[in-house]
């Protein structure tokens, strides 16, 4: 078990199974198909992301360095939250990028009853340690415990 400490972007507590993208997450490419075709498990549709392609993202502790791609990224994340197809939490090893931050803030301010803790700056160690399927617990103060 290891404990990591990051910065809280959207607070909350949650325990979920880890799903790891070692490269940047292209939000539009990853979520579009799931939002378009009613896939409640949010299966990743980004063929360029070998870590996530074909895996279910909804309800998982999504561990990643940053998001990349189209500047629609923030609104796509907002839509995923609004349609209840969001990850259980998003855990960034690097400082969060502007697109993911926009999605997290939009969901936080404009949606009721949606909880998706977002923690950033967890460090490169975090991404090296965490693997798919590990149990991840997020605390209110930005502490992330990986079993």
């Amino acid at each position: 078990m290891r404990e990591f400490k990051g910065r809280v972007i959207a607070s909350g507590t949650v325990t979920a199974e880890a799903l790891v993208s070692y490269g940047g997450l292209n939000t539009l490419a990853s979520f579009q198909k799931a939002l378009q075709f009613g896939d409640k498990t949010a299966t990743c549709g980004d063929q360029n992301n070998k870590d996530l392609y074909g895996k279910q993202m909804a309800g998982k502790a999504l561990c990643l360095p940053q998001t990349i791609g189209s500047t629609t990224g923030g609104l796509v994340l907002y839509c995923a939250c609004s349609m209840n197809r969001q990850p259980a939490c998003m855990l960034f090893s690097k400082p969060i990028d502007s697109l993911a931050a926009a999605g997290a803030v939009l969901a936080d301010v404009w949606l009721d009853n949606i909880q998706m803790p977002v923690i950033d700056s967890l460090g490169d160690d975090f991404l090296q340690y965490v693997k798919d399927g590990m149990k991840v617990s997020v605390k209110e103060d930005g502490t992330v415990i990986v079993d």
Binding site: T72, L75, Y78, D97
Partner: protein, 425 residues
């Protein structure tokens, strides 16, 4: 964050609950990046990234409806990215059915919303809003609330305006409330370069390839490019601006570049030179070998890599008027050389509606039509972004289109050869 009395009053609800939420959103967004104040948006027009009535984005249209209902529309008129549909672009029966009845079934509804929110005019749909023919060209020093990565990087780098790489929705929120958080590329410090890029090629580098190499190396950081003025000159004329449009789009999509400086060429580099460099800059040298290496490393995501291309898209970002004219000459010459009358692969050149309107007034339009090339205002990315089109073997010289879709990248010369001669796979 330190707010003015007026900003605090908006946040406290003096101008309604919805505008208070808009302000709260922008403040929280700014605080993530250490912004200490909100500054007025000073550009004449905004530019939005979300142009498509995609059924999947219902929650976005609900949010827009909240803004319209409460009367919180944009304080600036705005242009918006290209439309996702155009009947001029070849599509089979199934594609047309899915585009019109399923994917983009909310297009008319959303365009009506855009009109109510402050759309410049019914043709203001393009990613190259800064073209003279479109009329949304910011001034140096203007503070913007734009999204669309290719337009943001152009406005920052070539025009000297100041804008962060905002997400969709955040873009319109800035012009609804009239303020944006002051951080990143809005600040002098954020505009300093952390990379020196030395260009040591033996010929003018392909814009889309050079942008890709730099984007993948520096990601979201600011590069200061040395040696490119040898190939581009020191004047921001039509040809150079067109080059920088394509170059910038590749840096922004293959990486996440929001601003670049080119020594002796772009406005801030001309003004301040190497004082734009941060301490401890990193260096990346680009020569012919490096560009070749980058090109060779692009994954080919076609199911059958040897497929014959079924469509060619040029114009992501949208082509300039000069580019349309130059390519008319090139296609004619290519066809003459190969002894053919028309292009051998269905080919679409995309440009802003205003640019196409001007192009139609020239004799180039009839000449291009005679070659079989189709012109369109469509967004190639939106055309490609679905499972049916994704399975089509499409070729392009756009590195942005390559990055976001299954389209395969070729250099301009290779594209010309393929569409006029065929044979090369």
């Amino acid at each position: 964050m330190q707010l003015t009395n007026e900003q605090q009053a908006i946040l406290d609800g003096a101008q309604g609950e919805t505008l208070a939420k808009v302000m709260k959103t922008l403040i929280k967004y700014g605080e993530v990046f250490g912004a200490e104040k909100m500054v007025p948006v000073t550009g004449k027009h905004n530019h939005l990234v979300t142009s498509f009535g995609l059924k999947a984005l219902g929650p976005v249209y609900d949010l827009m409806e909240q803004l319209i209902s409460s009367g919180d529309i944009s304080k600036q008129t705005f242009s918006v990215d290209p439309r996702p549909l155009d009947k001029n672009v070849p599509a089979n029966f199934l594609q047309n059915f899915i585009f019109n009845n399923f994917m983009y079934s909310r297009q008319d509804y959303y365009e009506d919303q855009l009109s109510k929110l402050g759309l410049m005019d019914k043709n203001a749909f393009t990613c190259t809003c800064y073209m003279d023919e479109v009329g949304n060209k910011p001034q140096k020093g203007d503070i913007l609330s734009w999204a669309e990565s290719s337009a943001v990087v152009y406005a920052n780098s070539v025009l000297g305006a100041r804008c962060n790489r905002n997400s969709g929705i955040m873009d319109i929120m800035g012009s609804v409330v009239g303020y944006v958080p002051y951080f990143g590329l809005l600040t002098d410090e954020g505009r300093k370069a952390t990379w020196i890029i030395e260009i040591k090629t033996t010929k003018k580098p392909e814009a889309q390839l050079l942008g890709s190499a730099i984007g993948m190396k520096v990601m979201e950081e600011v590069p200061y490019i040395i040696g490119l003025d040898k190939w581009l000159g020191t004047e921001l004329n039509d040809a150079t601006c067109t080059y920088l449009k394509d170059f910038g789009a590749a840096t922004a999509s293959n990486g996440a570049v929001g601003l670049y400086h080119i020594e002796n060429l772009t406005p801030e580099a001309v003004e301040s030179g190497k004082t734009l460099l941060s301490e401890n800059v990193k260096t990346y040298v680009i020569d012919d070998y490096e560009l070749e290496k980058v090109y060779k490393n692009y994954p080919i995501v076609w199911k059958n890599p040897d497929s014959t291309p079924k469509l060619c898209f040029m114009g992501c970002p949208h082509m300039s008027l000069q580019q349309l004219k130059d390519w008319t000459d090139k296609v004619e010459q290519g066809l003459k050389k190969s002894g053919k009358k028309k292009v051998v692969i269905p080919t679409v050149f995309t440009a802003a509606p205003g640019v196409l309107e001007e192009f139609e007034k020239t004799d180039y339009a009839a000449r291009l039509k005679a070659t079989g090339v189709i012109t369109s205002y469509i967004c190639p990315l939106m055309y490609m972004n679905n499972p049916l089109s994704g399975k089509m073997p499409v070729i392009t010289s756009s590195n942005k289109l390559r990055t976001y879709t299954t389209a395969r990248y070729y250099t301009d010369d290779e594209i010309l050869e393929q569409i006029t001669k065929g044979g090369k796979k």
